[in-house]
Amino acid sequence: MLEGLATGFTTALSLQNLAFLLTGCVAGTFIGMLPGLGPMTAIALMIPIAASLDPVAGIIMMAAVYYGAIFGGSTSAILINAPGVASTVPTALDGYPLAQQGQAAKALRVAALASFSGGIIAALFLLLAAPTLAKVSLAFQSSDYFALMILGLVCVAAFAGPGGMLKALLMTVIGMMLATVGTDQTQGIPRFTLGSVDLIDGISFLLLVMATFALAEALLNILGKTGASGRTLNPVVMGGDRLSKSEVRDISPPVVRSSVLGFFVGLLPGAGATIASFLAYGTEQRLDRKPLPDKDKQGRQPFGQGSLKGLAAPEAANNAAATGSFVPLLTLGLPGSGTTAIMLGALIAYGIQPGPMLYVSSPEVFWSVIVSMWVGNIVLLFLNLPLIPYIAKILYLPRQLLMPLVLFFSLVGVYLVSFNTFDLFLMILLGLAAVAMRLLDYPMAPMILGFILGGLIEENLNRALLIHDNSWAFIWERPLTLTILMLALLVLLAPLVSGLVRRKHQTPAD
């Protein structure tokens, strides 16, 4: 492990990779700060640039964009009460009141410190858990991977929230359908190409991500769905950012608790940063022994009115979960969230297959991603924080200039990879379809997961059948495959069973 760490540090701290890490952090903060544009859009927008770099630099930059965007999202949540993504909603609950009380700088510092601690603690767990899990998963065969990917898809759908499971499952199926467009990998037969040469290679992952996230997000903004269109905001009072000793003592336990909680929630496929931050906020609110709606003697605000604990807890959990979600990605090649699915797609585009073999075949990628998380968190704390008042100026730029620029970067990002105008037309079509589905309240992340895992599922199933003489018996003869598939079935049926039980209990009362 020490040798791996040394490799990671040497690679991540090389001058070139440090420069990309810095660029990624700052660019991620910029994009993540724009209301409506979350980490997924940020990574999608950066893929064309990352694609021109070598794999290690590209992955380091995208990981940096990821946590930079999370940090940026928190900034807009605190300064203008516009959480870029769902996971920063709890941040706005206490961060925005603090900014309104003229303590924006202090709120940003607490958010940055909590994110930093969450990231560092989770990266430590990642360091311990990932190699062990990678070694264990070396025993996995194609059939087990097939089962694992089914479990991953089912988990994402199951965690979609009340009433959302069917929609999430449908979007996953649509993602898998889009993955079947193009030449079949095993037999070389063209499928759903409509006779077009441009579709022989299938729909590019970059095009789909750009269309459904960056382009769709900008189009929704143009449509006026996100509300802030055309509005120029007034700068808030930043105030001093010094934290007293008692304040540090006050927020330390919630930060540690939330970091550990966030990491473990992040490990679960589909749970991710949103559940982690809400869970951490709820837990700390319950643990708080100050139910009075006023300030206490030490000037501490209650939850919802500018509590530093209420701000620190979700921030720590949020960042820890983001790090935690890298464990299944790096060790099993299984993306636990939409963001890690995009990362997986980018890795595959580089010719790197994440999974247990990544630890063996490309240790420099594996370790430098882990080390870059530490370095990235340090960069965010020491470089981004002082720059926030300047970076935050982007929030006060008129939307009528910003949104066309997002459209431009999305279109050009795809065009520069293929130089094919057909891709632009396809992208506009998919972007409009994504807008329609978003307006109808259908989630997009399961579709991306379905798209990425669809091809892999078919590939692993084909390989498993080939290994087992074209027999389906591997499903029940291989205990590991059977266990994982049973687990997937359990996850799929659990909400249905609990719904039935609840209905049965309610009937006599009615």
Partner: protein, 145 residues
């Protein structure tokens, strides 16, 4: 009709058309294998249609109202993108991008002509310079004769 039912209907039609097209995929040389190039698409079509029907007949909480949406502005923005896709190669990168940015700034409600021209020209020029000089990506700046 409830919003989730509109979505379910659209997806059902999409899945049905996809399934119908899946029957056109030839299964050459794969008779002895349990799965072929058409197996997964047929399964997905069946699964998609079933789930869409289940969603259509399920009861879902009514989501928040959409509010007032500016469809005209979206239509103009899409038109600008389509024109950009048509002219990017023919007109060259710099003129096409300047036109696209200026047009979308106007569509978004910016009315200060000098600001529109300055930002559109600067962004397309600087981006072209970055791509060609720094990243070594060749982009024809003007129409190719």
């Amino acid at each position: 009709m409830q919003r989730h039912r509109v979505g379910a209907t659209i997806i059902f039609i999409f899945c049905a058309v996809y399934g119908w097209m899946a029957f056109d995929i030839p299964a050459i040389g794969a008779q002895d294998q349990p799965i072929n190039a058409a197996t997964l698409p047929k399964f997905l079509a069946l699964l998609g249609c079933t789930l869409a029907l289940k969603l259509f007949f399920s009861r879902q909480p009514e989501p928040d109202p959409l509010g007032r949406l500016n469809w005209k502005r979206l239509l103009y923005a899409v038109a600008c993108m389509l024109i950009y896709a048509v002219i990017i190669r023919r007109a060259g990168f710099i003129p096409a991008t300047t036109f696209f940015l200026a047009a979308t700034f106007w569509v978004m409600g910016e009315r200060r002509i000098w600001r529109i021209i300055a930002v559109a020209t600067l962004v397309s020029g600087i981006f072209w310079l970055l791509m060609t000089q720094l990243l070594g990506v060749y982009l024809p700046p003007w129409p190719e004769v």
